[in-house]
Amino acid sequence: MSSLYEAKSQQPPKTGLLLLQGLILLLFCVFALRFWFLQIHKGAYFAEQAKNNQLRQDRLYAPRGLIRDRTGKLLSLNEPAYALGLVREDCKDLEATLKTVSEWTGEDLSKLKETFKKSRKRVKPFEPLILAPNLTFKQVAMIEANALHWPGLEVVVRPRRQYLQGPLLSHVLGYVAESGEDELEADEDLAVGDFVGKQGLESVLEKRFRGVKGRRQLEVDATGRRLKERILSPPVAGEDIDLSIDLGLQELGGKLLKGKAGAVVVMNPDNGQILAFVSSPSYDNNSFTSGLSQKEWAELRDDPMHPLQNRVIQSVYPPGSVFKIAVAACGLHYNMINPKDTVYCPGYVKLGKYTFRCWRRGGHGDVNLEDALVQSCDVYFYKLGMKLGVDRISDFAKKAGFGELTGISLPHEKPGLIPTRAWKRKRFGEIWHPGENLNLAIGQGYTLTSPLQVARFLSSIINGGRLLRPQLLAGEPAEEQGRIPMTEEQLKIIRKAMIETVDGPRGTARRLRMKGVVVGGKTGTAQVVKLTDELKKMKDEDIPYKYRDHAWMASFAERDDQRYVIICMIEHGLHGGSGAGPVVKALYKYLYAEQPKDEGVGN
């Protein structure tokens, strides 16, 4: 037995017990009162609310930001589009409803069921679940007419992207399409059936274009019929964006490349703005918005001309003689060339048992640096290549932006390739042979560049050596990514040679000559395959398309303060001068034409 003291200590606290009972009483009183207030005092009011007015939430789609060119011309806007939505809570017989939808839209029933199943968990109560994202007017009419019989179905109106120029800007703008599973998973703001940017600027600037959905309060009766609506928060449209692209110039570029495979870039060398960005052939980005069929997709994908390929940034080609500009610059940088020194070109160079030929069989005779660039003498550059060696050339080329991404705000850019000893060992397990220095020096061999890289490099020759990030948005400030290690004096030598290539009597880019405008250029003819003797004998027109050489034209022009760099590259276009030259010339003519006063944009 316990002592008296212990017995006392084992007594539960009296006040504590009272407290617990008090709490129970309090709990009862407060909630009983509240139940009385809600159910008896205001019961009639709430009963009325429950019967008549039920509040629902609904979202209001925000229009995507508009896209304009640098002069304010519209490139893309939003048109209303109609989707078929299903409000599960209003739908009495799901099976029958889905069957009807299948009849109306022609969509497979099992596919509709799957869409429903997948989307179900992502849709809030009373929110329409999008079953068919794109309805035709005929379908809309039919659904509206039958809406009474199918209370769960409704036509949802949403803004849909429309690209006014279609294929012309597809490689810049990209396209939007219905968001996929991954995107929905990663982005809370997305709902099933929402459109998101999938390619190009639409994808890169998705967050800016998108805007914020609004919310609407709907009062509906017990059968789901709408009685009243109130906008709780209006949708906020996405940001409008002005591109650096000049629509007129772009249109001209597209026209000039029509029927050809190739690319044109027009860049302002002083700020990196891209005025034209043409990749040909192209595809119609509108077709993605309205839903591409499996067959249409397969056709696009398997097209031998590869319209989906962005030739400005994704296709990389041997640069051919255009690369000689970089090699000449490299020679100047390492003080391995005195511009006045001449090299004798007999039409070939021998190295060991191999003979490396100049494009001009008979040779150029004595040529100095300028002559060599103007006439694109291979022998001069073979010898320079031997002197410089792969290490110097590749190091310099990287500093000039070759083999590196330009950082343009578009997805899937390819860096191209500048070979090095280490690269070759890794790739082929072989050492670098001296003969390869010769090929490297004339832009053949392993070297691969994208047209945009060439444009950036050439811009740096014009603007004092600054490597600028190519900009697609108007008003974006110039962004310097690096500098090519050259003095202004050395740059001047290169520029002068390029101008002489256009102006000089023996220049290879004479077609570019224009009155009142200083134009410089460099042609390039890039071998696709080593031509067999048989092919060599053929006339150009007889060589099969896929064996024809690629044609390059790299150029710049200046009048007053207006400076431009234009790069044109035509796949299998045979010769730089004749294949790509006319395209470039036409673009300069446009740019330097007397423009109507009201269109003057200051630059």
């Binding site: 539960p12 504590g16 139940f35 009385w36 429950a50 039920q54 509040l55 179900r120």
Partner: protein
């Protein structure tokens, strides 16, 4: 451990057991009604009530387990239990499963175990052990010690983040302290200090929690967000009026205007279908149910048992208070279920286990044996 003898069965609080069973039955019935709509869906059949029945069976097993041994053994294992709980809580961030963006669960294969549920049991065992050591009112030192013990698991739960359960742990301990009694000096100090600390808590709240508090103050400020729940649940309950719309007859809840009607807002369905009469009955059952724990605390053989019963009292009391307060629009929306009425596996099992613990205390009130 001696086998259960007949005296134990005679002295057991059968009334409490009956009330718990009744509440559970009402809960399952309500759940059947609330999830009725989903049953017709044809595509996503979610038989919540069936699952809840299975949880109930498991809970019944848990309850028997918690009755079998002499509760005074808990005193000995109180501290080991405490540290095991802390370790499990520590493991959550690493081994935990993420559901709805919060890591609270540990996957045990057959079901997801929530260490925070265990923490609620642990806190009342360790609380009973510390508080029953002597009987003087608590001074500052002792109070500080008790709260540090409580803050360790509570803080870890809040960081999961699960503010509701974390506060629940603190509230259980706080209730037990009030039961024990404070010196008047401590009481006065706290009466001043606690209201001052509330704004500090605001700083630690998540944005969504702040939104809930704001929308509680003014439901119209966010009628489709957090306020939506409150407005809809008020309409549902209010429209039930005196007699209710009858079983399965609630239009508000049936039509799914009511969010989370099977979990935290289960009482709204009940209120709509059974009206004021039903609501009063349920409220009364809850009050008598709570009173049985007061009786057990009063009659317990020792202080430890008394504090255990008081702890369980507070475990249920706070949940009922907060859940009903929230659904009736008297409190901000926090995710706390209504015992036995809301759907939930872990909660149901823990509820029954704790009833088992109270029964354990009540049936051993005449057994004279030193623990």
């Amino acid at each position: 451990m001696s086998p259960i003898d007949r005296r134990l069965l005679i002295h057991m609080n059968w009334f409490l057991l009956g009330l718990a069973a009744l509440l559970f039955f009402l809960g399952v019935m309500n759940l059947y009604s609330a999830s009725g709509f989903r049953m017709e869906d044809g595509m996503s059949v979610n038989s919540f009530y069936q699952k809840q029945l299975i949880w109930g069976l498991m809970g019944f097993g848990g309850m028997l387990t918690f009755m079998l041994f002499d509760y005074r053994h808990l005193k000995t294992i109180a501290w080991p239990l405490f540290w095991v709980t802390v370790l499990l809580l520590l493991a959550v961030p690493f081994a935990g499963k993420t559901i709805y963006g919060a890591r609270r669960w540990i996957d045990l294969g057959f079901f997801n175990f929530q260490p925070s549920e265990l923490a609620k049991i642990t806190i009342l065992v360790i609380g009973a052990r510390i508080l029953s050591r002597d009987f003087e009112p608590l001074g500052f030192m002792k109070l500080g010690y008790v709260f540090v013990v409580g803050l360790l698991p509570a803080g870890m739960i809040i960081l999961q983040p699960d503010l509701g359960s974390g506060l629940n742990v603190l509230l259980i301990l706080g209730g037990m302290i009030l039961y024990r009694g404070l010196t008047s000096k401590v009481f006065k100090t706290m009466a001043v200090a606690i209201p001052c600390l509330i704004p500090l808590g605001w700083l630690f709240m998540h944005d969504y929690q702040k939104r809930r508090v704001i929308s509680f103050m003014n439901p119209a400020s966010d009628p489709l967000g957090a306020g939506y729940h409150i407005i809809q649940s008020e309409i549902a309950i209010g429209s039930g009026r005196l007699w209710g719309k009858g079983f399965l007859g609630g239009t508000q809840s049936q039509l799914r205007f009511l969010p989370e009607k099977h979990t935290d807002f289960a009482i709204a369905v009940f209120g709509e279908e059974w009206g004021f009469v039903g609501a009063m009955s349920l409220l009364s059952i809850f009050c008598v149910f709570l009173y049985q724990m007061v009786v057990t605390a009063r009659d317990a053989k020792d202080l430890f048992g008394s504090y255990l019963a008081a702890g369980v009292f507070f475990y249920f009391f706070w949940q009922i208070l907060i859940n009903m307060g929230m659904v009736l629009g008297l409190m901000p929306v926090v995710g706390i279920p209504l015992p036995f009425i809301s759907y939930g596996g872990s909660a149901t099992v823990v509820n029954f286990c704790l009833i088992g613990l109270v029964l354990n205390v009540s049936m051993r009130r005449y057994v004279f044996k030193q623990g």
